[in-house]
Amino acid sequence: MTGRAIGLDDIEDLALGAVVLGTGGGGDPYVAKIMLAEAIEKYGPVPLVDAADLDPDGLLLPVAMVGAPTVIVEKFPNGNEAHTVLRALEEHRGDKGVAVMPIEVGGMNTLFPIAVAAELGLPCVDADSMRRAFPQIEMTLLTLDGISSSPMTLADVKGNYVYFDAQDNATGEKLVRACVAQMGMIAVMSAYPMTAAQCARHAVNGSVTFALEIGRRVNAIQQGKPGAYDEFLTFCEAQILFTGKVLDIERHTTAGWARGTVTLEHLDDRSRVMRVDIQNENLIAFEDGVPLATVPDLITLMDIETGVPMTTESLGFGQRLHVIGMPAHPRWITPDGLALAGPRAFGYDLDYVPLGGAR
């Protein structure tokens, strides 16, 4: 495909898709949305390209904004961080960046890389490394294929940058956290630098378009178009696991994780209760203690009337929500995929359950 671009009119839909794929976490896209709008107004629409159409040896710049969501809403980037990151990478590797790539397509980091692409005057690759959002940098399909997240680069608003190699991707994650803490809790990160050929082979191609298409269908629900919910579910191959009313929300933080549970009572049958466990993202949906959906499959909560997909922060008592289960990219549903990002990777004594439960 050629001639595609992300323009101002796409931002709202892309943000909606980002919240669906963010499964409650991934950061509220609000700040990233305004940043992208301002970048597009300044530099024009951002070309969206397929990795296969780029110079196979061309260097890609996968980027994300990392830090504490509470700090990001206070001290967001200035737009130069990405230039610093790209310059560092080009200097150390000796080749030129040809495109920007989102690392994840859930939450704020769906939109942020496109703003970066606008600022750098580069196209954005229609791909990501997981087709959802995860809280740890090593939780990617690239890790499964043995691609190193290093060299990693972090830049802060003041022009400081760190460029480092980690021996493995899990260590890379730890080093990023340590650096971000010293950079005022927000930084622009580049990880998994790779060629367009590597992206075409190992990344999830088409995932930006996937997010955009999901957002368009959610938008149709919000416009009240007949059949829009079914069309959305069909497109995502998703199913409604439960339809209920929020009875209780509990949140706390342990070891740097925003953990919590949300409890819903079924609208038609009050004896049925669903509990969704959250660690940044929605991880497991239990009905009466029995898991019906588990990470890495996606669990998204959506208002049954307005079609608003919920972030964890926007959950409120009494909301009437669909609990929607959506299959993860099939590469995740493999022994190594589940070892990296299945329930046990998040501390549950529980095996992965296919969507809908082992019925």
Binding site: M35, A37, A68, T70, V73, K75, N78, V157, L315
Partner: protein
């Protein structure tokens, strides 16, 4: 004796006034249509209630008004605002006002500058404040803007740069020049706080107009009383402070109504259903205060970080117009005859069938002339419509509740008669003879408050010490706002843990509330 309080509430449809005594008894009330010039309605409401009481005994007047929000929605009387953000090199990727509706931004935007300064989350400087740039900005604003809004990164935790910037600006533009600081009008969230500061600057004339208007209304009645405006959270701002921070009063209407309902019923935990002429607002009282919405609130299309009562609003009220029967869709509304119900409803000799006609014909209300309605509406239509109303009300009551515990429901507002005596999932329906002016009563009984919203690191000192420090600061702020030190209490403590933070950091929000200290001396004028 200065023990009486006047509560005034200006809504979209009605302007209400009440007088309550020291014990909180309602002595008199008055309800009239809101006038095109809002102050006319306030003057006549005030005159009407003062005629019934000893005006010498009135010590305080509390006003809740839709003035500021209407000014923003109608884009009327807005000031031009110079906008200074203290943040560079951070935040340059988003300009001030970039997400505002364009027409509103064009009316309000004056000089705009992002200068070096601001603080990190843990309190150190991002950069020292650029004092030269601040002075240059102030000079640039001279004769070009009506107000200035200054917002620094992390200012709720550390307002030093905002305070210093204001000192520099007023040195150049004069002590009276209105400068709004972000930390005075908003919590964490730079864009939302900046928006609030700019909106506050834009409302400068509107704020003055309300306070001066009220002062002149009091003077015309020869009433020597302290003036307060009610805030979004149902607590009070003294007149001078309200003129400086009108944005804080912008969502007080629904809050006043719910606080009034709590007060009249004596209930602390209940559903409140405020049925007006055109719409019904349903909210939930928890510990006598409205449960707040989890979502950011937009005012005039601008996102702010105010927490407003978590309300469900539907187009159902005493003036809702019946719709042709076609088997589908609503039986009445959202169109309404509004405050002209006394002219248009059938029972008042008009030609428009409304829910009030249905209510009277089903025996829920007794006003107007039922025979006029009986000529137009048959019993079948009435019973179908009233059961549709009952279904809506039951659904609303169910939606607002957090759990399947039966709660009492307090029905207030001019259309409260529409609420049936029995609602499934509701333990009892509570009404009060003053329920029609619950909003003005909510204003009259409002208390003073102070709050704190900052990020804290528990590893510097223990969690208990941090919370104690925040609580002490909130109590000080409440006392400063007029609360009785002996009766000031902490009403809210929120700890929002921060993901990805090293150690134990949290955003701490504390609010303290206390009854106004009784007026002992007459303020010198």
């Amino acid at each position: 004796m200065t023990a009486l309080r006047v509560g005034l509430d200006v809504g979209g449809t009605n302007t209400d006034a009440v007088v309550v005594d020291e014990a909180g008894e309602v002595l008199t009330w008055h309800k009239s249509a809101t006038t095109p010039d809002v102050l006319d309605g306030i003057r006549s409401a005030l005159a009407a209630v003062l005629a019934d009481v000893d005006r010498e005994a009135v010590g305080q007047v509390m006003l809740g008004t839709t003035h500021p929000v209407n000014a923003l929605i109608r884009r009327r009387g807005l000031a031009r605002v110079g906008i200074l953000r203290i943040a560079a090199p951070a935040t340059l990727s988003i300009s001030p006002l970039s997400s505002w509706p364009r027409d509103l931004a064009a009316l309000v935007r004056g000089q705009v500058e992002i200068i070096r300064g601001g603080h990190e989350y843990e309190g150190t400087e991002i950069s020292p404040l650029d004092e030269d740039a601040t002075a240059a900005f102030a000079r640039d604003c001279r004769d070009r803007v009506d107000a200035i809004a200054v917002t620094g990164v992390t200012s709720p935790a550390n307002p030093d740069h905002e305070l210093r910037a204001r000192a520099i600006i007023t040195e150049i533009l004069g002590d009276d020049f209105p400068v709004t600081l972000g930390h005075e009008v908003g919590g964490l969230g730079l864009l939302e706080r900046e928006n609030s500061a700019v909106l506050n600057g834009a409302l400068r004339f509107v704020g003055l107009e309300i306070v001066h208007g009220l002062e002149s209304a009091l003077a015309a009645e020869q009433l020597d009383a302290d003036i307060y405006l009610t805030q979004n959270d149902g607590t009070l701002l003294a007149a001078a402070e309200a003129a400086r921070r009108p944005i804080m009063t912008i969502g007080s209407g629904p809050t006043n109504s719910m606080r009034g309902a709590a007060y009249l019923s004596g209930l602390t935990d209940a559903i409140v259903m405020d049925v007006g002429g055109t719409s019904t607002d349903v909210g939930l009282l928890i510990d006598s205060f409205p449960r707040e919405s989890a979502l950011a609130v937009e005012i005039g299309g601008v996102r702010t970080n105010y927490r407003m009562p978590d309300l469900i609003s539907v187009g159902l009220g005493g003036g809702s117009i019946l719709r042709p029967v076609d088997g589908t869709g609503p039986a009445a509304g959202p169109d309404s005859v509004g405050h002209e119900i006394n002219r248009h409803a059938l029972i008042f000799g008009g030609g428009t069938p409304t829910l009030s006609d249905v209510s009277v014909m089903s025996g829920r209300a007794d006003f107007g002339d039922i025979r006029l309605a009986e000529k137009v509406l048959d019993a079948g239509r009435v019973s179908e419509t009233i059961s549709w109303v009952d279904d809506r009300i039951q659904l609303l009551a169910d939606r607002i509740k957090a759990a399947h515990v039966d709660l009492p429901l307090i029905a207030v507002g001019g259309g409260a008669h529409l609420v049936p005596d029995r609602v499934e999932g509701v333990s009892e329906v509570v009404r009060h003879r003053f329920g029609g002016v619950a909003n003005a009563i909510g204003a009259a009984i409002a208390e003073a408050s102070g709050s704190v919203d900052r990020s804290m690191r528990y590893d510097d000192s223990s969690r208990e010490e941090c919370l104690a420090e925040a609580s002490a600061a909130a109590i000080d702020a409440a006392i400063h706002a007029g609360a009785d030190p002996a009766n000031t209490r902490i009403t809210t403590v929120n700890e929002i843990p921060m993901a990805y933070m090293p150690g134990n950091s949290a955003r701490v929000q504390v609010k303290a509330v206390g009854p106004l200290l009784a007026r002992t001396t007459t303020a010198s004028k």
